[in-house]
Each structure stands twice: as structure tokens, then as C-alpha cells.
Amino acid sequence: MSASARLALAGLLRAPARTIVRVVVLSCAVALLGSMLLFVSHSLRTMAGSAIRSVPLDWQGPVASYEQARRVATGVAAQQGIQQASPAATAPFAGAVHAGANESTSAGAGAILAVPADYLTHIDTFRFLQGTVRPGEVALDQQMAATLKTQIGESVSLTPRPGAPARTFKVSGIVLVTAPDVLFQPLNPLLGPAPAQPPANIAVMGINTFAGTLAPALPAITPASAGSSAVPGAQTAVQWQVQAQVDPRSLGHTPSQALTEAGRTVNRVQRSLPGQVQFVDNLSDALNTASADALYAQTLYIMLAVPGALIALALGYLAALGGVERDRRDLALLRARGATRRGLLALAAIESFIVGSLAGMVGAAIAFAAVSLIIGGGLGLTAARVTVTVVVCVALAIAGAAVARIYASASVLRESVSEGRRSVRRERRLLWQRLYLDVVALAVSGLIYWLTASTGFSAIVNPDSNPTLSLSIYMFFAPALLWLGATLLLVRLRGRALGWTLARAGAEQPKTLPGFLLASAARRGTAINRGLLVVGLLLAFGVSLGIFTATYDQQAGVDAQLTLGADVTASAPPGTIAAHGLTARISAVPGVSASTPVDHSYAYVGPDLQDTYGIDPATITKATTLRDSYFLGGGVSDVIGRLRTTPDGILVSKETISDYSLRTGDLLKLRVLDHAHGRFHVVPFHVVGVVQEFPSAPRDSFMVTNLSYLQAADHAGGPNVVFIKSSDPQATAVRVAAATSANGTIVKNIRQQAQQTVSSLTTVDLRGISKILEVFTIALAAAAMGLFVALAISERRHEFATMAALGASIRSISAFVWSEAAIVLAAALVLAAGLGLLLSLMLIAMLQHVFDPPPDQLAIPWEYLAALIGAALATATIATAIATRRLRALPLGAILREQ
């Protein structure tokens, strides 16, 4: 072992507590970064995997004949990265008949899927519920089998086209076709995927059987006629095709990688079979959307997590700072005794390497544990992934440790020996201070925010073509510059403002302990500011993170509720709700806190057919959430109040107002279907407001009116939906279903809906990363307060020993510690409240277009904020209590000898 290594190790072992603190704090910071790395890479893998799995059929290549389909399929299957390629065909049939023992049952037009025997090896477009499909026989979709009332072993006749003779097949299986919209879509490679309305009846048969029986009776779609057949529902001929599945293992681990690789693969295969096949690429289409979501997710993760990670590293610096002055003196002493510059740097580097390696490994372990706890089902770690994570964590920790340590060494090397041995150094203004970069950053941040808020621009992910963040990338600078400006401003002020305030609060000639505490704190602005900088920014990060994610979650819930209508909805056939008193019965179900009936029907405004909702204004606000942003020209209570007091009142969309030159109070005549006579008739309404969004309403134009007035006009038998409010939607939905299923209700809950709602908002789940960040922020805030107290004791031990020598009581001396901790915490809370709120406002303004509808107000996560502040407060209290005990045991004689 070299002399430098021995010296470095001895230095670390000589002060074990200091070394442990440095390792622990650095490992916390690194763990945060490691967790982010693991979580983001896991999210991307999950997104890529989900997108790939969600595609039942990757490629469909139209060809002209069965022979060509077989030949091309063989050629495609031989290509690298292809899991399966099969010839297949889809074709229409004009009708089907099942001649039973007593009666004959028929079914209308449908479609045939013809596939080879090994088709289901990797392609997942249908599955057998019973039986199989044998040569010369047919398997029927369960719906068609039900319609024809047929079973396995019986025979059905299929008529390929009107006028053609029917062919009879024995039924050998019942299938469930799971991807009919993809299977029977019109295939035009130039247009790409165009999922179509699935046929009502589907028969599956072997491709050889099909080729020998029905195919000859039908024309084939050729490349020349592909355009005319590319209309959904217009297939009149046989579509011979090659269906292929790409090997998912060859596609990479992120949606972008997978998209690129999928594109390369399809190009390579098409190039290797020139002029023979062009594919409709369902896989790339799905991966394109996933890539856009992934880019959006990554952007959000970065925006949310990077400030926290940087502050965490600053905390590592604070930990190292505890020994910087001692390090400076030690290094200066070594230099005075002849150590070379290179030797000193080597010493600092070796020490950083030891501390960083330890902290990196501990941090990586914490990161693995934290992310495993949050992500159920395992991280899917491989040896390579573990190695990369550990290496990154160790490298970051070594770099973090080196920054603080080398800083001390470098300054000693620059200075003369005598300067280095002095504990007080001259300071000069840095370049950024002379250029007022802090003020500039804050001003530019404010300007960007103002532009964002006033112009309505925001960062939007372009879902088409290559995933890119279209529009206003510069908006991301607003919060980034606010972070930068606020941090630099705090550094510039160096606690002078705080010191000035404390000096004003104190007495001119202190005589009492509070007076001495204020006088001392007023002159320790720089030290207090250092604590404020880390604790305040950490708390501000925590506040902004908490508010943003809570608002994000709130809006995800609103999105789901807006789509479904309420926490739980029960829809029933026309007339059922009123006839069976379902609204009252549902109200009595345990868990239902409120319910309201709604009639969803349609009415014509001029030539436009619009969704129309008949509601009960007295109960609607209790059973579902209405927000002020849903309405124009008034809040919820105002607009709903107007509807309640105007029996024939109606709320219409902004488009309707402008298209028909309407104003509030105008008469609006609608054509409403009178169910009693089956004819539309004109019904007068009066416009009482403008509605933009409404629970369960579509995104385009719709109308809202009084339920009683609508019922009197349409005689439809009453409401057909009940909106239900519940604190436990899943359990309540089960109970409501049990209570009303006999009446044919369909009950849905918001949890199901949230999982089904596919929008840019809900596809990115922030809960995982925000949980990680929240837990680390709480831990780091606690660590920051503890470090501040420990650092204060370390820096002031000589001062405290002098006070003890003067006879000051331990209580008086410890008051100097806890009073500063209290000042830092109080100032940090003020900073966090202001800066955190401003940051969350900026983030939400930036993502205004992602939120649909935009949030009325910020969601404040009180429990999390209380935990955050509580952790800082508790740690400060514990650290101060420990500090008081340490003060009691200070080796006064030894300390007072230090000069």
C-alpha cells in the first residue's frame, strides 16, 4: 500500500463518526439517483413490453394469391428476428344456416378467417374455447355459434356470396376472436393500420380447406384493388395475406429502441423480398404511441427528479464540509512538511475513492431495496443491469466525494502555507455574482412563466410520426431557471437579509440569553444560510413535488371521473330505473354516500345530433364532482342554480353558442325523439349557460338540461344512468351490482375506468417515482437538519468550550444550537412555502394542456407535507438533544489548547 493510501485510510479511521456521516449522506444522495435510474429504466422496459404485448398481430402483408402467401410466408419466416410468419386469408360470407333437428337457424353476413394449423404458436388473435379446427371443418366464434344455436359436431352451411351455392362444414370448435378489429381491417400498406368495425359473425377454418372450398367462389383482392377495399366494412373479396410476428427479444428495452428496431426489421424483410410484399405494420404503430408516452414520461421524471438529486448531492457536500477546515489545516501542515502537490491530490483522490466506493455500494443497495418495495413483481434485474447500476452509483459517489474533498485540497494548493493554516480566508465575488446571473435567471424564469400563462403555450408531446416534444421546449426553462436563480440568490445573500432581521429583533446591548442568541445568530448569517440553502431547497423541492403529484393524481382521477361520470355508475335499459325505483334502492346500498339519476339521450340542434343529459340539479353536485372550469360565465353553483330555477333551461357548448349565434336567455328549439310516438318533435328550451365539460359527456358538443323537463318531452321512461358517490368505489360497485343486477344494470367504477382511460395523462404513472422521491425527500430533509446541527457543533466547539470555561450552563450553550436550528427550520419553511408553491404552479402551467380539464385549484397533500416538516422538526429536535449531551462531555481542556 502506498504512503498516500495509508495516510488517507488513517485519516478516515481517525475520525470514524465524520467518515460514517459522509458515507451515509452521500449514499442517500446516490440512492436517490440510483432509484431514479432503476425506476426510469424499469418504466421504459415496462412501457416497451406492454406496447409489444398489446399488439396481437405485428404485421399483415396483403398478397394476391394463396400460392404467393405461402411462398412469401416461407421467405419471411426465414428472416432474422422473425418469430413466426404464416399465410392467412380473410373473406366475407353472405350468410350462414344451421339446420337443426326441429328448426333451421340462420345468421347474417360475416367473415371468415383462414389460417394454417400452427397459426396460434405465436400469434394471439383468437383462442379456442372448445374443440379445435380440423381439415374440412370449421370453428365458429362464440357469438355466431350462439346465434346459430349450434354445437360441436353439428353442421353449418356458409354462403360465400349472394347467389353462390352454400357449402356445408362440420363444426369442430368454438373460438373467441380477441382481435377482430385488427384481423379484418382493410390492408393498405400506404395508409397503415386502420382498425375496423368487427364483423358480427366469424368463422375460422384451415387455410387449405378455405382455398379448396369457399375461395374459388370469391374474387381475390389484388394490389390494384387494394384502394377500393380499404374502406372499413367494405370487404367483398378474399384478402390473401402473410401475417407475421416479430421476435420481441430482438426489439430492445425502450419504446424508442423497439420502434427503431421494428422499423429496421420491416424494411429489411421487405427489401429481402423485393416486390413481393409490403406490410401493414401494427407493431410500429403501437410503439410509436408508446415512444411518445415514454418521452413524455422521461421529461416529467427529469423535471421532477433532477432538482432533488442535485440538492441531495449538495447535502453530500454539506457533510464533507464538516471536516473541510480541519482538512485544510492538515493538508497545509503536510505541505509545510514537504508534501508535493501531486501527493496531496493523490491523498484527496484516494480518500474520495474510499468514501465514494463505500457510499456508492450502500446507495446502490438502498436504491435496489427502495425500488423493489415500490414496484411489485420484481425489477427484472439481470447481472448486466445490476452491474451498470452499481457502477453508476459508485462513480457518482466517488465524484460527489471528490468534489468536496478536492475543493479543500485545491484551495490549499493555490494558497501559501500560512494562508492555508489560517481558518479565516479572504473571499472575493465570483463571476456570476458580478454578472448578476441570479437576478437574470429569476427575471427570465418569470418572463417565460408569464408567456406560458398568458399565451397558453405548453409542452405537448406530438403523438404522430417520430416522438418529439413539439411546441415551446423553452418552457422547461421556467422552473429550471427559478431553481437556479433562487439558489444563486441565496448564495449571494449569504444570510445577510436573515442576519439583518435577527439583528433588528435583538437588543442593542444584550443582557439576557435571548438577546445573546439573536446577536450571535445575526452574525452567523453565512453558516445559517448554508443550512437554509440545503434544508430550504430540499423542503421547497418536497413541497413542489408533493403539490404537483397530488394535483396530477387529482386530475387523473378527474379525467377518469369525467369519462365515467361518477365514482360508480349504474346504467340500465330504458324505463328500468324509474319502474323499479333503482335510484332509491341504490341510495340504500352501504357505501353509497349520494346518488342522482341522469337521462342520456340525443336531440337535434338544427342538423346536428348532440348528446343530451337530463339531470336533477338538486342532487347532481352531491353525487358527482362538478368543477368551475366545466362552465363558462359562472361557477358550478351559479350555473346549476340557474338551471334549477329555469325549468326549460339548457346548457349548451361554446361551439353551439357561436355556430347558432346564441346568447344566455335565448330561446333554443330542439328536435327531441318522442318515444311514445317514435317521431321527432320540436321542444322549446332557454339557454341558461355554457358548458365545456360534463361527467360522461363526449369531448365535442353536448347539452345539459333538467331531467323532469326532458322526461316530459321525450317520454323515454325516465333516467337510464345513476351516478353514485362513494369513498370505496370498487366495493360499492360490487354491492350495487348485487342489489340491481336482476334488473339488467351494468355497474362500473372509477378504478376500472382509470385503468382503461387511454390518454397522455393517465398512461404515465407518476406514483412510483413520486413515492421514491417523497420518501427520499423526507429522509434527506431529516438528514439535512441533523447535519446542520452536527456541523454547528463541529464548527463551534472551541466557542462552546470557551463559554463553558466562562461558566455558562450547558442549557445556555445548547440554546445557541437549538435556536439556530429553529431559525433555519422556520426560514426554510417560509422559503419552501413560497418557492415550492411557485414551482408547482409553473409545472402545472407548463402542463396545462395535458390536464383535461385544467385543474381548478392545486391539490395540497397535507399528510405528506406534515410528514416532511415533521421529519425535519423531529430530526432537529433529536440532533439538538444529542448535541446537548455531547456538549456536556466536551473535552474542554483539549479543545481550549487548540489555537
Binding site: Q509, P510, F516, S520, E799, L806, G807, I810
Partner: protein, 233 residues
């Protein structure tokens, strides 16, 4: 300011030994030291660096607990008291003037003196810190921070701070160690004058034989042992 001196035995060290460190790093700082100190007495501790002067001062003031032997202060065994009680004993009669002044860096000259008065809890007047600063000739520097004072000025503030505790015993550890000759002389003259005025017992540790010779009783220390004791008329 009234006199705080009393007659009779003030502090006694009996067979005091102090060991620092353990194992190979074990250092015998004091060995079997006996010392009696009367009220108002002026004693010089003379010896080279590492002879045990500072340790003996710390033992007398209760900053260091002897490894063996005991120390009594006004008849009470200091070594049997806990840290808080020893602190109270210092607050009510024992003051220090350190080699490097050891002023509290975040307090002005006035506040340093006022804090010492607060620590001793003697209920002195509001004007006392100003009076003491005037006594040491630093009234004009009352609002200066320690970093803004010269070495001599800082030492004089330290003396004023020590007086604010109304000491019966003033322990001075190389009070001129960091000062030039003239300034050191003036500080020693000030200590002499104040001792005569307030009649507190004075123990002054120094490596300089000329400084020690200003005192009527000089105890020589070497390697932690008392090797000589001279009394001058």
C-alpha cells in the same frame, strides 16, 4: 466594582496526576503535584512548553479532572463535582485569560464582557461591561468584533471579560504569548494593576523567566512535576 478577595486557603491540589491518551499515545501531563493557593496570592508557573503549566491551570479551574489526586476549591472537592457543578464553581469565582484571548467570535467586545457577566449570574449593573472596557482602555472599541481587534486589544477585552465574573482566582495562560514585547508589557502591567485593585488571587503561567520574575511566588514545572518553588519578597 468591589473587592472579591477573601483570606485563607483558596485552592489546593493534592498529589494530582493527569494522564492524556492511552497506550502508546499515553502522556503524563502532571505527576504528583501538590499546590496550595491562598486568597489574593500571586503565583507564577514557569516552565518550557509541555512542562504541564496549562494542564495545571485547567485542573485548578475544573476544566480537566485529575486522573489521580484531588483538587479543592474553597474547601469543596472540584474533582468530585459533575461538569455542571464545576461550571457553576467557575462562574462564581474562577476566571481565565487564555493565550489567544479566546474571545467569542460572534460577539462584540461589549457582548463578550456582558456574556461573561451573564454566565456568572452576579446581577451586575447594565453599565458594568462599559465600565470594565473603560478600565482596560477599550471603551472606544466596545462595538468591535474580535476579528477587528489587534492581539493586544483582544487580550485586554479578555481581561475585562474575566473581571466581569468578579473572580477570586484569575488563571492566566501565557497572556502575552501572542503579543510583541511592548504590548505584552502593557498587558502584564494592566493585570498587575487590576490584581492590586481587586485583590484576586492570580496564577500566571509563562515560559518567560522575566515575566515569571514579576511575581512573588514562582513554581517551576518540568515534565509535569514541580521542580522548584521560589518566593520573592
Amino acid at each position: 466594582m468591589s473587592s472579591t478577595a477573601t483570606t485563607g486557603e483558596l485552592a489546593v491540589c493534592r498529589a494530582v496526576s493527569v494522564v492524556h491518551g492511552r497506550g502508546d499515545a499515553r502522556v503524563l501531563a502532571l505527576h504528583d503535584v501538590d499546590l496550595r493557593l491562598a486568597a489574593g496570592e500571586r503565583v507564577g508557573l514557569w516552565g518550557r512548553s509541555g512542562s504541564g503549566k496549562t494542564t495545571l491551570l485547567h485542573v485548578l479551574g475544573g476544566l480537566v479532572t485529575p486522573t489521580e489526586g484531588d483538587v479543592t476549591w474553597r474547601g469543596k472537592r472540584l474533582s468530585s463535582l459533575d461538569a455542571a457543578a464545576r461550571g457553576r464553581a467557575r462562574a462564581h469565582g474562577i476566571s481565565y485569560v487564555f493565550q489567544g484571548a479566546n474571545l467569542l467570535p460572534t460577539f462584540t467586545a461589549y457582548e463578550n464582557v456582558a456574556f461573561a457577566a451573564y454566565a456568572s449570574d452576579d446581577g451586575g449593573s447594565d453599565d458594568e461591561p462599559d465600565e470594565l472596557l473603560e478600565l482596560v482602555g477599550l471603551a472606544a472599541k466596545r462595538d468591535a468584533l474580535p476579528a477587528e481587534l489587534s492581539g493586544g486589544e483582544a487580550q485586554r477585552v479578555a481581561i475585562a471579560r474575566a473581571l466581569a465574573q468578579r473572580p477570586s482566582l484569575l488563571l492566566c495562560d501565557e497572556p502575552t504569548g501572542h503579543l510583541d514585547g511592548d504590548t505584552g508589557e502593557r498587558v502584564l502591567d494592566l493585570i498587575d494593576a487590576l490584581q492590586r485593585r481587586f485583590a484576586f488571587a492570580l496564577v500566571l503561567a509563562t515560559h518567560d523567566p522575566e515575566v515569571a520574575a514579576r511575581l512573588p511566588r514562582v513554581i517551576g514545572l518540568q515534565d509535569g512535576r514541580i521542580v522548584s518553588e521560589d518566593r520573592f519578597a
